[in-house]
């Protein structure tokens, strides 16, 4: 119990007749990075806003660090850092002045706030532009300033809504590194995103949203097993005659599908890499590539929504 920082039970949000968030259950543990995934309009932002008490809850309960955000929003907001999607700062103020305002709102004593702000700016590599006006900042710098705000706040939970949207690959990489830094400092992170491979690389667990419901929840491997079926996928590129037949002959192989010229995707109940290499060479073929395929979130996502659409 003590380790659950966010817990939602039957959390519901109605906009008129529309169920933007439809009775979801969700738990986020201390020290993990939890990802909310889902197509546009799935209800991710609405869920986040309800956790912060920034929009009314239509039903169900949500608790953040043991506080009810509807009744005790100040207690929740004192301990939770929030980076909204498309975060904005006061353009006419400098980075330092923007954070100073936040520090005032948080009631951090003046003597302490200067130091905390510099430490925070330092941790997101913005220390050298601390006194530049935010108007001159790039998108990536603004996102990092948002992270700095959370660091300065010494939040126990960080809620990041699409933190990487609109960032170039390098900026994305840097930002994810900072998110990992938050986790190293013991902060539980809840983030929503569309960038599946990025999410996969940082998240411990994910929840897949669809139409206001949590469709799938768990680690990436668990989701892959649920959606793609259990099994080890491997990729083989080889030259020779009847490679596919050779592969199918291996004990435990469940499926072999061609993936373009001279490449096959094999799913087996166990790790069959050694045996596959042996057989191909024995059959006179030449093996050019043999790769263990991690289940990819992208695949899970695509497959899930294909099936969901078929079912509908």
């Amino acid at each position: 119990m003590a380790d659950t920082v966010i817990s939602a039970r039957g959390l519901l949000k109605l906009y008129g007749q529309q169920r933007a968030v439809d009775a979801i259950d969700l738990d986020v543990e201390r020290g993990e990075i939890f990802g909310l995934l889902g197509p546009n309009g799935a209800g991710k932002t609405t869920t986040i806003l309800m956790m912060l008490g920034l929009t009314e809850v239509s039903g169900g309960t949500v608790e953040v660090l043991g506080f009810n955000p509807v009744r005790e929003p100040l207690e929740v907001k004192r301990r939770v850092g929030y980076l909204p999607d498309a975060v904005g700062f006061y353009d006419h103020l400098t980075a330092r002045e923007n954070l100073t305002y936040t520090a005032r709102l948080l009631g951090i004593p003046r003597g302490e706030s200067g130091r905390r702000i510099m430490e925070a700016l330092d941790s997101v590599k913005l220390a050298d532009v601390a006194d530049k006006r935010v108007a001159t900042f790039s998108r990536g710098m603004r996102q990092r300033l948002g992270i700095a705000e959370i660091v300065m706040k010494r939040a126990e939970v960080a809620i990041l809504d699409e933190p990487t949207s609109g960032l170039d690959p390098h900026a994305t990489f840097e930002l994810l590194e900072m998110i990992r830094g938050l986790k190293r400092n013991g902060v539980a992170v809840l983030l929503s995103s569309h960038l599946l491979d990025r999410v996969q690389s940082v998240c411990d667990r994910v929840a897949l949203f669809n139409n206001g419901r949590v469709a799938l929840l768990g680690t990436v491997v668990q989701l892959a097993n649920q959606v793609l079926g259990a099994g080890h996928p491997i990729l083989i590129e080889a030259k020779g005659s009847d490679i596919a037949g050779t592969l199918r002959g291996i004990d435990g192989v469940q499926s072999v599908t061609a993936e373009g010229e001279g490449a096959w995707r094999v799913v087996a109940a166990r790790d069959v890499r050694a045996e596959a290499a042996e057989r191909i060479v024995a059959a006179g073929g030449s093996l050019t590539r043999l790769a263990d395929l991690q289940p990819s979130l992208e695949e899970v996502y695509t497959r899930y929504f294909q099936e969901a659409r078929h079912a509908a």
Binding site: L12, L14, T45, L49, L52, L54, T55, V57, S58, G59, G60, N68, V70, R71, E72, P73, L74, E75, K77, R78, V80, G81, Y82, L83, P84, A86, V87, G88, F89, Y90, D91, H92, Y101, T102, R104, L105, L106, G107, G146, E149
Partner: protein, 331 residues
């Protein structure tokens, strides 16, 4: 049955004023350092200084002794432009207030700072009130500066210091002017809460201002006539019926903050004033020409106007507050 509808609004914990002073300080310093404030200040000084300068030239030539010579700086309309300082302020204060308030909430939406600020430990109450008080303090600074300029100019050009009762009346005038500005600031903020576009909210606030400046004085007599029986309207009614009609007209006029401000100013700065609103010959006899009222009597006279201004300010602010509470924070 949806479980939500039956749910009672739960009580919030924590003070609604947490963070109020932080918001206030930020708004105040933002306003004071902004280019917009410089422009507004220039505007106010030009509009204020012109009638004061002209009437000072005329007042210097008055030889007969006037115990309230200093107050005449505020109220006398110079011959060259028939526009007194206070009449000028009746127009300029709303513009100043609208200039300070028309984008106070919607600009936070548009800059996308609102959700970030509201995710700090602060209620919307404190945010809105802090913004209002910050604007009001800025307004007060501008008016006090103007007031001191007028006082200084009077000292220099008239060459005599104001009597303490004149200073007291002048300070009363300042307070009334700030309350009047507060009404318009609240109106401007109301529109800034309603409309996401700053241009729309500025237009609406200016529209209300124009309405009260130009249309309302024209509409009131029409309304009054429409609401009284024809014979009374044609001047054939009994005295009490005619009085009732005049009373109705002045009540309607007082729905405009401009009227309330104007009456309060007359009561304060013309110490001879014994009654406000409609001047009925029988009541007026000896009223204007009589001895000046002591300060406390004048204050008593304008008290309803001042409370009316303050009540209007609170009502409009409350409306803005209620709408703001229901608004979605996401842009």
């Amino acid at each position: 049955m949806p479980p939500s509808v039956a749910q009672r609004a739960p009580r919030r914990l924590g003070s609604p004023f947490t963070g109020l002073s932080a918001v206030f300080m930020k708004e105040f310093s933002d306003h004071l350092s902004s280019a917009r404030m410089m422009v507004l200040m220039l505007f106010v000084i030009v509009f204020g200084a012109l009638p004061v300068g002209l009437s000072l030239q005329e007042l210097r030539n008055i030889t007969e002794s006037d115990p309230f010579l200093f107050l005449r700086i505020f109220t006398s309309a110079p011959q060259r432009i028939p526009f007194s300082f206070t009449a000028s302020l009746t127009l300029v204060i709303p513009l100043l207030a609208i200039g300070l308030g028309f984008d106070s909430v919607n600009s936070e939406f548009n800059r996308r700072t609102l959700s970030r600020v509201l995710s700090q430990p602060i209620y919307r109450d404190a945010l809105l009130l802090g913004k209002f008080l910050g604007g009001l303090a800025t307004l007060a600074v501008a008016l006090i500066a103007l007031w001191l300029i007028v006082l200084g100019a009077g000292l220099l050009l008239l060459g005599l210091p104001p009597r303490s009762v004149e200073v007291a009346r002048g300070i009363g005038f300042l307070v009334v002017a700030i309350a009047y500005g507060g009404v318009w600031l609240a109106i401007a903020m109301l529109f800034s809460v309603i409309f996401r576009s700053t241009a729309t909210s500025a237009l609406c606030a200016l529209g209300v201002w124009l309405f009260f400046v130009i249309l309302w004085p024209l509409i009131v007599p029409v309304l009054t006539l429409a609401m009284t029986p024809t014979d009374v309207a044609m001047g054939l009614g009994r005295l009490d019926e005619t009085l009732a009609m005049i009373q109705l007209q002045s009540t309607l006029e007082r729905l405009s903050p401009n009227t309330l401000f104007g009456e309060a100013v007359i009561g304060l700065l013309n110490p001879e004033t014994r009654t406000l609103g409609p001047m009925i010959p029988s009541l007026m006899r000896g009223a204007i020409l009589g001895a000046p009222l002591p300060l406390d009597q004048s204050l008593l006279l304008i008290w309803p106007q001042v409370t009316g201004l303050i009540a209007a300010m609170i009502v409009v602010f409350a409306a803005a507050y209620v709408i703001f509470q229901r608004e979605e924070v996401r842009a």
